[in-house]
């Protein structure tokens, strides 16, 4: 209280005429906002603990609850917004770095929303995906740059290792530890049913999930947690994680309190020890070093699977990607500034990196100019929110998109952005067994399958409208895009014309 006091950000509005005091809100709130007052005979709430996750709102059987933003405000000031002042109060009180979760809430331009898609009219026919075949399958990996023939003159079909996806989407890296067991189970089961891949993140692979190996990307990050021979062999691809869009240039830190039981075993570190992923890989200080790790991993798995190198989108991303494309990597994954995280320093998340649309266009352009675009496939992520974002990304030059926040939303996440507290009321970003069981993977995997099936339908409709019947024919087809309300420079970087041109 006193100088430390910050008025609660949210208010719990309970419609007394509807509340039947069933106490579902009380039982379901891990933050202990709601409680029953026997003296008054009614439900009460302590808003100071509310994070606006909407669990109580969703489960209230009489719709008696809503959570609203508090209108208790400091005097309006364009230079010193309410949030900025309160961050200063928090730091003055704690002396610590501000922590945040999920993607940045800052209003960076979303270029997806400033790009429109073409459709066929009169002079070229559109295609009805319900009547005609429409291909959404993509294969990721290094493609041969010329046709090779054997001594007998026949074409040699040997290809470098590839991964095949039924649609141009993969579930992005989220570790077991940052996510619950049931969230991982949901992702793995959905990936298998959909014929796509999910990514272990840097937390190892739980022994129960080795059966989903063909639909798994195993990650090797700077902490090398959970990496062993069987792990490397378990998946369909190995991803070397250099950086993450939400926190380029810094490592990770899973507190010792979360390293318990299965997580400790899966990460291969003692219970209760902090899992600290260093900012850099201590064996990578150049493209040549990266090449060594790429080939060490390839050697370990007998050159049988593609290697992905994941980096955050930063200023010289085109040059960086060019280097990676020459390092022997088969796939480059780029994560933009709006990408999510289980926990990151707020200032880093909100200020470091560049938007993924610009990074993607710049990288695709550079790799084409250098004649090495076929050396690698390009996967992008960092807030891909809908089927149209996917279509625009493909037309800008991506081979496929990584989605994570969208997938979590399908599992029930309400984007309250407090994953770092470990008290996720939806059973997603928590290790508390009471909370973890709130996510039934039967429901979770079904919802993921529903979402992806819906997106696939929409992608086919959009492609059909453009008169394109294969996702391969859309890739890098920037003529299908036009900008609205963009500057000359933005259009130049995106490599698209303005609407009307």
């Amino acid at each position: 209280m006193g100088v430390d006091f910050i008025y609660p950000e949210f208010e719990v509005i309970r419609n007394e005429s509807r509340c039947i005091a069933c106490r579902v809100c009380e039982r379901q709130c891990a933050n202990e906002v709601h409680f029953f007052s026997p003296e008054r005979g009614i439900m009460m709430s302590d808003e100071t603990k509310c994070v606006d996750c909407q669990r109580c709102v969703s489960l209230c059987p009489t719709r008696a609850l809503k959570i609203i933003r508090s209108d208790c405000a400091l005097r309006e000031n364009a230079n010193w917004p309410d949030s900025t002042i309160k961050e200063i109060y928090r730091q003055a009180s704690s002396g610590g770095v501000l922590l945040s979760s999920m993607g940045t809430p800052k209003a960076y331009p979303v270029y997806w929303d400033k790009i429109v898609i073409n459709a066929s009219q009169v002079t070229n026919p559109s295609i009805d995906p319900l009547r005609e075949p429409m291909e959404t399958r993509v294969t990721l990996g290094k493609k041969p740059d010329k046709i090779r023939r054997g001594e007998d003159g026949r074409i040699v079909y040997e290809l470098p290792p590839q991964i095949s996806l039924s649609m141009p989407i993969l579930f992005s890296a989220m570790s077991y530890g940052s996510l619950s067991y049931n969230a991982h189970a949901s992702l793995a089961r959905a990936a298998e049913e959909l014929g796509i891949l999910y990514n272990t993140g840097e937390g190892g692979l739980h022994e129960d999930f080795y059966c989903y190996g063909p639909n798994t990307i195993v990650q090797v990050a700077s902490g090398r947690f959970g990496v062993h021979m069987d792990y490397l062999k378990a998946g369909s691809a190995i991803e070397i994680k250099i950086g993450q869009g939400a926190k380029p240039g810094i490592g990770g830190h899973l507190p010792g309190t979360k390293i318990v039981g299965d997580i400790s075993r899966t990460r291969m570190i003692p219970e209760g020890t902090d899992a600290i992923s260093p900012a850099p890989h201590h064996d990578i200080y150049s493209i040549e070093d990266l090449r060594q790790l790429v080939f060490s991993l390839k050697e370990a798995i007998n050159y049988s699977k593609p290697i992905i190198v994941k980096v955050a989108a930063v200023h010289n991303i085109a040059a960086i990607a060019s280097g990676i494309a020459r390092s022997g990597a088969d796939i480059i994954a780029i994560d933009g500034i709006r990408g999510g995280t289980g926990a990151a320093p707020t200032r880093i998340r909100d200020n470091v990196g560049i938007p993924i649309e610009l990074a993607l266009a710049a990288v695709d352009q550079r790799l084409r100019e250098e004649g090495i675009r076929n050396n690698v496939s390009l996967v992008i992520g960092g807030s891909v929110r809908s089927s149209t974002d996917v279509v625009k990304a493909i037309a800008l030059g991506a081979d496929a998109c990584y989605i994570a926040t969208s997938a979590l939303l399908a599992l029930g996440c309400h984007l309250c952005r407090t994953c770092h507290t470990g008290k996720c009321n939806w059973g997603i970003a928590t290790q508390n067994p009471e909370l973890v069981k709130r996510l039934n993977p039967d429901i979770g995997s079904k919802r993921l399958v529903n979402l992806m099936t819906a997106w696939r339908h929409e992608i086919m409709e959009l492609m059909g409208g453009m008169g394109i019947n294969s996702i391969e024919a859309l890739r890098g087809n920037r003529l299908m895009l036009r900008g609205v309300g963009l500057t000359e420079k933005e259009l130049e970087i995106l490599g698209i014309s303005h609407a009307g041109e």
């Binding site: 005429s17 509807r18 509340c19 039947i20 005091a21 069933c22 106490r23 579902v24 039982r27 379901q28 969703s58 489960l59 059987p61 009489t62 009471e434 069981k437 709130r438 039934n440 039967d442 429901i443």
Partner: protein
């Protein structure tokens, strides 16, 4: 026959099934009118403690001991569903004594009531199953008694 099964692995102990049950059997059109300010008398009950919870309702036994024990002949089998004619109940509570699941409970007037799978009320399918947020209560055919 189709029965109500409970998977305690997914039961959150939220007690919504009890409220949905009480509402479905109230005969009233809205939940607030049916349940606000009153104690509820559901036909399904959450049992357990802090760590493990599960819902218990009538198992609709193949050879129900409650039917045999009812001194008023109020409980009977209608096909495979165990039903109670509440107008014949004399509140002797013998059924409470004999039911191994504790599935029968009295209403506010002491008249016995039990789960009849919502076949008789406006819900048409078990309200507890329909309203369970985590699919911990399932209504399905499993082949065994």
């Amino acid at each position: 026959m189709k029965r109500v099964y409970v998977d305690e692995q997914w039961c959150l102990g939220c007690h919504l099934c009890e409220y949905n049950c009480a509402f479905a059997n109230s005969g009233l059109p809205d939940m607030v009118l049916a349940l606000k300010g009153k104690p509820i008398y559901p036909r399904i009950h959450i049992e357990g403690h802090d760590k493990i919870t599960y819902a218990v309702s009538c198992r609709h036994c193949e050879d129900p001991i409650c039917v045999k024990s009812c001194i008023a002949g109020a409980i009977s089998k209608d096909g495979e569903v165990v039903k109670i004619d509440r107008s014949r109940c004399v509140s002797c509570y013998t059924c409470i004594l004999v039911c191994p699941y504790g599935a029968l409970t009295p209403d506010e007037n002491g008249v016995m009531q039990k789960c009849e799978l919502c076949l008789e009320n406006a819900c048409g399918e078990p309200a507890c199953v329909k309203g369970c947020p985590n699919r911990a209560i399932i209504y399905e055919e499993r082949g065994e008694a």
